[in-house]
Symmetry: D2
Subunit: 347 residues, 4 copies
């Protein structure tokens, strides 16, 4: 990192910063310019450097990091375009994971109907929420634990691995027991205790970006998981909050190539939550694919108009086959294989 | 609420929406304009209306709510300018609560020194974090449970009630046992399970606004707490995320009069986190007071340059008396009494 | 529009609002709910309604518009997916316009070299700035009027119609005389006098979205042009300002399907300015195409590292052929024809 | 500035960057760290450095500026807390300028009535718009040139200097002839030709911050004016665009101390446009004053409910005396004198 001193910083202030850097085992190289002094601190230990808090020192104008603040998930460290293995299927590394299913598990019937439809349409994974984070306490909050049993039944029938969200440390064991991928929702992207415990659980993690999380912060959240020994993190862009109100949030498609460049993790996109409106989901899904996304997660419902959660953005189960056929043309264009169809290809 | 139909919506679509509204026990009044039909749905039950999800229906352009989506915390319902009672002191209703202390409890010595200094300067409450949510896993994460004992000792010595954050349901009982006010941090403002359980715990809650939370969403989070029977919620504006990078976040001072107008809850301001720089905290604190805030929460440290957390924004303990004297002039101007000095006034 | 009265609004206040609506020639239908009164105002004249400013009246809680605030550019009015005709070529309506060239005209040599390269690669239009809006007064501000002559020479040699920006009413006549399409830059999207005069000039207009302009405001700016009798407006999404700093701005790809749904105008995308970095431009360009964009505008330079303006985001002229070949696969996928190749197709 | 090279940058790439820096007359100091090389470029010439565009060079990761990008308006250069002199009155340097009047000049009667009221209440300057930038082409666009004559008459009667906006270079001469202060509106903050010409006109300039303009960009716009020899620029914070919709925009009060720290210019605040609602203007005005603002600009109207422009945010002329009395208590607290009352003080 570099420490830029204020104009007029005294020699004592410079010496004091140098001393603190060296006390932490790093090397300090002050360089006096015409107007300001800049001190380079050379060392790789993020923990040591992070602990110095040099912005608080007298005479310091700003601290400019040179190295990325994350390490384990960095593409510098592990290479790029890696895949995550999920119950025998892949996401990333040339395999495209299509995750589809209802926003919330509402009933056995609704979930099984949807699971069959998305499997028939070509999805490789089933999504479905047992616990729903809802802005209003008056809205449907999910079926809770009984939903997990319904998801297991759907997996048994269709063979689709399950992606489901955990919101609460007290439910973690139950969710981990059932889920093939545990989802951390946008509101929990900086719930650091949850990240740590999911990291320890050793199950693949789908980590949504928060509504106002920078890409760097998102990767630091992934680093929390990786630091517990679990590198199987799939990043999921789902829209950021901006001033625009025509969409529920603004899908930041550029986050796909940016995050794939910085991190070694697969990046998928959730076009449903950002758009908030059914007719926007297909163009945004296509866009995500050709921007390099390793997968999509979309909401499908047999009767969206009566859905208990996010109906306006759910795709109709009966039209989902056509929807997948359209998206598949983009997957083909990118030279990727749909997860669940690898065998057919290699055969 | 009103349902605005699309241009060209059919009679069947209008009839279907009317039927669904009435099936939920509300009354529907369609009104056909030159271009579009608008359906008024008259009823007060937020739960019932919320469950309809009419945006998903064919022919619906948009749903416009008329009533506020929260009820228990609304100023319509409970009146405005109420106070919260905290171990014999008040915040709100003409009493100004100054909460001060270190960002994080780092040691017994550091905490006690700070507690004495802030008490001497006139603060009415002591803040101090046992658990610190940090963006980077490499940063100091707080002392954890041992910090709670240090805070208790500081309270015993100074008489200042304690404000401390809970991040994790598993620590809730320990924190509730010790804290006079439990803080929900910005990152947990939509951690709904935590809100519910803090609501049930029956202790006063300081609810920070999230970095990208609208005022309406913030009040809905307060409604989660209130709905468990706990109306003692203090709202805390702490800055929102914008494109501006000169400050850590943008302190939305206008949220103070807006939230006080909409809700019956006291509203305080945290100028430290938004500013991120010591020299901005005094002007922003003053601004908050004269905009009508019921209190402030600020970070004070005996040696900010070596603080383990957020040193650049901590006020120097030894200069804190002067700082309070400056802010107090604004409190006086607003005709408010500092919490902890009520007795002196009434005597 | 609908006027929602405050709880407790008096009969006099309701009557006064009704009277004001009717005085403007519209019809008012008050409807008294359990808690609030809502007044529907039925009429189509945006000018008349806009002039009432009813938010300022006593007892009014809010005014909810029902009709779109623009009319001439609305897809309701003129239908969707229309094209703009530019010196014999089209953008929109199934024809894809690729506009390429240097950010700024720097010299005759640089411009002609680039023009030849982009033509050879398959671009249908040449871009190049004579006047450059630069954040810093110390940065290169463009060659000014002499650049226009260079552009004319490039057009004569390559046959490519010219797209160039006007920033200043005093240069309008000179620019209009030369340009096939006049560009209004992001910073001038609400320079209403400029919009009006460009509207009167009768030349096709490329209207960039502003950095913090909502889609609705952008369409209202297009309405300014259309209202002077010039409906040949091409909308150009170029990124909006958000909290994310990894990209120069956040390209709002969803604005493409949203704007095409609302307005009758072609929508193109500028991936260069949003990305700010060369390697992001191809994925974002592809994304724009499959999201439905009617064209792209990109920056190409023979030697980006020495460009006087925005070098880091310029594509290398010599690699531009490969770049276009990649993007063309997406254009083909969408079943569109590249502008400039229509004849070949129809032959 | 410092140039941070990518990991793996070659010696040739480093040498090439060094060469380019030195070719521009600056000195380059490369420093090779364990992972990356950083090159310090020492020189003060912003023009020279700006022209290098080193971000575009092979092997460059990022360019980190050390010096501020503006010079003439910097507090480093001219000192801080300076005032601007306006027809014998001051804003800044301990004198508080209260500018009040109608949003738009609508008629002689409305303007004179308002002018008398604001003078009686203690305002030091009269505002009033002849040209109104309006988002919708269907809204009132201002009276145009005849409004200027009305303003002159109001000045003659009340003695209040006039602040009025110029939107268009073609009206510049007319506005400059009449105005004591020429206002550049938020939408024109990066209309660089207008900034330059206003700079040359030599009249004091009130420069509003744009809706999505960073403080640094705002100061660079001021630098455009100053560079033409006109250092009499008054900065005006008026709210930035964020995701919050409860207010028209988010008044960034922290911009006051930040801008005053960075620049030598007075900073005032417009609470009316940010709030958009009358009842928020007083708390936000007070907040601005105690945060250090050198003045306020507010909208006052004899009959806000029938105002042709922005009625909901206009203060009632007849209540304006009380409003000023409240704000004045904050001005007194800050130890400042109201502009127009200096004589009384010095007498």
């Amino acid at each position: 990192m570099m420490i830029v001193m204020k104009e007029g910083a005294t020699d004592e202030q410079v010496a004091h910063v140098v001393e603190r850097i060296e006390s932490a085992g790093a090397k300090a190289h002050p360089s006096r310019g015409e107007f300001v002094t800049v001190i380079g601190a050379i060392g790789d230990d993020r923990e040591m450097i992070a602990s110095l808090n040099l912005e608080g020192e007298e005479g310091v104008e700003k601290v400019v990091p040179i190295l990325k603040p994350y390490k384990l998930v960095s593409s510098d460290f592990r290479g790029s375009d890696r895949h995550v293995e999920i119950s025998g299927r892949r996401i990333g590394g040339g395999t495209f994971g299509l995750i589809a299913g209802p926003c919330a598990v509402e009933s056995r019937e609704q979930t099984l109907t949807t699971a069959r439809a998305v499997r028939a349409a070509g999805a490789g994974f089933l999504r479905g929420g047992a616990f729903k984070p809802r802005t209003s306490p008056y809205a449907f909050q999910g079926m809770g634990l009984p939903a997990l049993e319904i998801l297991v039944e759907a997996r048994e029938e269709t063979g689709l691995p399950i992606v489901t969200e955990v919101m609460n440390l007290r439910h973690l064991d139950d969710v981990v027991e059932v889920a093939d991928v545990v989802q951390i929702g946008a509101r929990n992207v900086q719930n650091f205790d949850l990240l740590r415990e999911v990291g320890r659980a050793g199950v693949p993690v789908l980590l949504k970006r928060g509504l106002s999380t920078t890409i760097e912060e998102w990767l630091l959240s992934a680093e929390y998981v990786a630091r517990e020994g679990n590198g199987d993190v799939i990043l999921c862009e789902r829209g950021i909050r901006t001033f625009e109100t025509a969409t529920r949030s603004t899908l930041d498609i550029s986050a796909v190539p940016v995050a794939k460049g910085l991190a070694s993790l697969p990046v998928i996109v959730d076009p449903s939550h950002a758009a908030g409106r059914r007719e926007l989901i297909l163009p945004m899904a296509r866009a995500a694919v050709v921007a390099g996304a390793d997968g999509l997660i979309v909401e499908v419902h047999p009767a969206p108009e009566t859905a208990l959660c996010d109906g306006p953005q759910a795709l109709h189960a009966e039209e989902f086959g056509d929807w997948v056929a359209d998206v598949r043309r983009c997957v083909d264009l990118m030279g990727k294989v749909m997860a669940g169809e690898e065998a057919a290809v290699s055969a």
